[in-house]
Assembly symmetry: C2
Homo-oligomer: 341 residues x 2
């Protein structure tokens, strides 16, 4: 697997010191200062920031188990909507001044639109209650495709944000997270896009069944992705590692992209120091996964749409945090009296 270098502790210290020289009481910009340090230490630079949001879509065999409030064809419809430019993430990306790259990692029926990047690994995954979601070779290919895409995007854009779409993918992510964190599926399963109590109970049972069937080794993240994951999860994991290997910040969105990042971090242990958690979703598994990655999210707006919507919303805050670091006056420069705290 590609090497990811950890953000340097010396850099982090120097960045903190730089913020303490700014004309404001120490720490008075709160977590905006933490964000500035994290983004800058991860390689973010204001003048190199031309963010790209990569939305990766895939279908899930497990969707036929009734684990989503929406039918499977919605994945394809939303893929078309992303290409059309008026889905939520398109609107939010425009507002954030970010480019949007739409990837088909393997929906059942492809959308005929040249703006959609074809990284298809199959016609949706296999229902993981019947067999492995994909072969190990498919999982490796999806990871590799993500890595290669990151190689194309990372340096030019200076920051890569992750989004996803796929009916059933919060079930796959719940299974991956439960396997990697070695916890019960009731800890990682949530209502997704709107399950009722019966639907949530079914989702937990389905994930239990998949984990019982495959018993994936938590020490083998590729095996976990192959057994119960999804094409978009594996592509996102590859993207995260690839972008971080070029020393640019990687912004994760909600539960699904964060779980992809968790799998990636098991392959590249220094990855978390290059990650920015954009927001906290109400999915119970999200808080667990962020905790495992050691990340504190910037926004907490109860958003549970996915698509990269939270990541897009966070981009102006990221830019502003870097601007504070790079453009704000110091006590010495501005002739302002420092209380020395």
């Amino acid at each position: 697997m590609r090497e990811v270098r950890a953000a340097s502790p010396a850099d982090i210290l120097a960045l903190r010191r730089r913020l303490d020289e700014k004309t404001k009481p120490r720490g008075s910009l709160g977590r905006l200062e933490d964000l500035a340090v994290r983004v800058a230490a991860a390689g973010g630079r204001l003048d190199a920031l031309d963010p790209v949001i990569v939305v990766v879509a895939g279908d899930h065999g497990v969707a036929r188990q009734g684990v989503s409030a929406y039918p499977q064809e919605v994945t394809r419809q939303m893929l078309a909507a992303f290409a059309g430019g008026d889905a939520a993430v398109c609107v939010l990306a425009r507002q954030a001044g970010a480019d949007l790259v739409v990837v088909d990692a393997g929906v059942v029926e492809p959308v005929d639109d040249p703006s959609i990047l074809d990284l298809r690994q199959g016609r949706g995954t296999t229902d993981f209650t019947a067999g492995p979601a994909m072969t190990r070779r498919q999982a490796e290919a999806a990871l590799g495709a993500g890595l290669e895409l990151a190689d194309e995007l990372a340096v030019d854009h200076g920051l890569v944000a992750l989004g996803e779409m796929g009916i059933g993918n919060s079930t796959a992510a719940a299974a991956v997270a439960a396997a990697l964190l070695e916890c019960g599926p009731q800890m990682t399963c949530g209502r997704g896009t709107g399950l009722d109590d019966a639907g949530l109970a079914r989702k937990v049972m389905v994930v239990e069944e998949g984990l019982r069937l495959h018993r994936p080794d938590p020490g083998d993240p590729v095996g976990v992705l192959a057994a119960v994951g999804g094409f978009e999860l594996a592509v996102l994991a590859g993207l995260a590692i690839g972008a971080a290997s070029h020393e640019v910040p990687v912004v994760i969105d909600g539960f699904i992209s964060s779980t992809a990042a968790l799998a990636a971090a098991r392959l590249a242990p220094a990855l978390p120091s290059r990650l920015v958690a954009s927001h906290r979703s109400p999915e119970p598994g999200h808080t667990l996964v962020l905790g495992a990655l050691g990340l504190e999210p910037v926004l907490d707006l109860g958003m549970r749409l996915g698509e990269g919507s939270g990541a897009a919303l966070c981009l102006p805050l990221i830019r502003s945090s870097l601007a504070i670091l790079e453009e704000m006056a110091t006590f010495a420069g501005a002739g302002v009296t420092d209380a020395g705290r």
Copy 2:
């Protein structure tokens, strides 16, 4: 006092319905949807949005009671830094694409800079432990100056955001909030820009003393502002009422601008429906004041700088929320299957 019309309940309902037709599970954008409804119902329109942040500075006689970690001359230094363009709020306003208007409402020694708007009501207020902070006539003049400035700015900018600066002003705001909310000063006094335990205890005592001396009538907000307030607080209250009377959203920042808005809301009871709370500051009084205004803040980043820094950071989120409302596709328009929830 100028009339402020409440945002229309029928508009609010229609806006909610419009969001429910968008290609996303109902409510899945969480509080971004609440924000969109609030801003649009308050009069916010994407194409009319050219936000202005008004930073109002004033000095406080009570500063000599040792209630701040910084000396009084810092107010003037920061006023000069705002005019210079590299204080925190300047950097953040640029990032948000917002204009910045810097107002001197009465610092001790004015800054000689033509870019600073002169709304001076005096050379700092009187120490309210010795006498009223200002005369009733000064308080009315400051309110009127804020109203007039809003008349100039509101329609052209489509949104007005409030910021402030003034050594000692969290003490004045704590006194105003305690008087209006009829609670003890220990509920509204916080560490401001960095008081230690002894400093905080002194601040509580100073506010107690001021309230005991003047016994301001909570039913008379102008009297409260005159007794224990500040020039910038009164100008901000006038700005809020004036902007809301033109039916544009008013974005409040931290404890001080929120307390000014609370005083304004006692004069114009429909005002809160035109307000947006940008962030929650760690000042304990801020949560009380926001609660009294019925507002839920968008950001919660532990920021306690003031200047309008939180309001500036919130502006891209406000713009994005309106873009979701105005630009995002509907289920019908996009041909996406709606699960009907």
